[in-house]
Amino acid sequence: MLLTLFLTFAKIGLFTFGGGYAMLSMIEHICVTQKHWITHDDLVHVTVIAESTPGPVAINCATFVGYRQKGFPGALAATLGVILPSFVIIFLISLFLDRFLEIAWVANAFKGIRVAVGILIVDVAVRMFRKMPKDLPQIVILAVSFAAMLLINIFSWKISTILLLLAAALAGLAVSLVRGPVSGEGGERP
C-alpha cells in the first residue's frame, strides 16, 4: 500500500504541468474516480484547506490523501512521491537549462501543453461548481471571487488570493449569522 501510494503520487507529480490547480484534475481522476481513496467532498475540503494554508497545494493534497490511507507513513510516502519526479527533472535541467529551452520541439510541445492546462483547470472548476450547494449567497461569493481574480490577473495587481479567501470566509460567517444554520449543513464528512 505504501509503495502504491508512492508510485501513484509519483505518476501524478510526473504529469502535472502548470501548478496545483492542474494537479487537482489529476488527483480527482486517480484518487476519487479510479481508486476511491477519497470522496469528491474530501477533495473540495482539502482544496479549501490547501488554499488557506501555506505551501504548494499539491503537497497539501498528497499529504492529506496519504494520511487518510495509511497514517503518517502514508503521508510521507505520498508527499515524497509527488515531489520526486519534478525533483529529478529540475535537477537535470539545472545542469543544462539554457540549451534545453533552445530545443525547438521542446518549446513547441510546451506551447501546446499550456493550452491543455487551461482546459484542465476550467474543467476542475466546472465540476466543483456542479457539486457544491448552490444557494444565493454562495453564487454571489463565487461570482465576486471570479471577477476579482480576473481583474487581479488582467491588471497584474499584487493582491494575494489569501485576502479573497479571508473575505469569503467572513462573508460565509456573516451569512450564517444572519440566516441561521442552513439545512443540510450538518452533512459534512468529518
Binding site: G19, L24, V48, P54, T63, M149, T161, A171
Partner: protein
C-alpha cells in the same frame, strides 16, 4: 554557510506562501534576491521553466536554486525545506479535523471559502486560456494556431466527458500528451 541559508530561506518560503505559487512569487523573489542567489532575470527565466515542467512551481524553484548554489545536497535540502511546513500543517489539521470541521462556524466559513475557491480556480483557468489561446491571435502576428488548438482540445475533452462509456478512460495525462504532440506538429510545419 550556504546550506544553512538555503534551509532557512526555503523554510520561510514554505511557511508564508499562501494562495498558491503565483501568489508566492513576490515572496520567493524577495528571499532569492536578498540572499543574492539569482539575478532577477535568471529568476524570471526559471519561473517560466517551472511553469512548463511537471510538479509544483515552488518545489521546482527550490530544487533549481538549491542545485545552482550547492549542487545535489543543496537541491535536496532546499526542496525538503520548502515542502516541510505544508506537510506538517496538513498533518496537524488532519489530527484536529474531526472536531473542527463539525463546528457550526467553521462550516459557515467553509461554505464561503468553497464558493471563493471555485471562483478563483475558474478565473485562473479562463485567464490561462486567454493568455495562451486568444492573446497570441491579438498580439503576436495574428497567430491563430493556439486558438484553433484550444477550441479543438476543449471540444474533444468536454465532448468525450459526456459519453458515459468513454468517460472513465480519458485522463488529464492523455490530454497533456495529445496537446504536447499537437504543439510539436502545428508549430513545426
Amino acid at each position: 554557510m550556504i546550506l544553512f541559508d538555503l534551509l532557512i530561506g526555503f523554510l520561510k518560503v514554505g511557511c508564508f506562501s499562501f494562495g498558491g505559487a503565483y501568489a508566492a512569487i513576490p515572496l520567493i523573489r524577495d528571499v532569492v534576491l536578498s540572499y543574492g542567489w539569482l539575478t532577477d532575470e535568471a529568476l524570471t527565466d526559471m519561473i517560466a521553466v517551472s511553469e512548463s515542467t511537471p510538479g509544483p512551481i515552488m518545489v521546482n524553484l527550490a530544487t533549481y536554486i538549491g542545485s545552482s548554489q550547492a549542487g545535489l545536497p543543496g537541491a535536496v535540502l532546499a526542496t525538503l525545506a520548502v515542502v516541510l511546513p505544508a506537510f506538517v500543517i496538513i498533518l496537524l489539521i488532519m489530527k484536529a479535523m474531526k472536531t473542527v470541521l463539525k463546528n457550526r462556524y467553521v462550516q459557515a466559513a467553509m461554505r464561503g471559502l468553497t464558493a471563493c475557491v471555485v471562483g478563483v480556480i475558474l478565473a485562473t483557468g479562463c485567464w490561462l486560456l486567454y493568455e495562451n489561446g486568444i492573446s497570441p491571435m491579438i498580439r503576436e502576428n495574428a497567430d491563430c494556431r493556439p486558438f484553433i488548438l484550444a477550441v479543438v482540445l476543449a471540444a474533444a475533452w468536454f465532448g468525450l466527458r459526456t459519453v458515459p462509456k468513454v468517460k472513465k478512460h480519458i485522463s488529464p495525462i492523455g490530454l497533456i500528451l495529445v496537446s504536447a504532440v499537437s504543439g510539436i506538429v502545428i508549430y513545426s510545419i
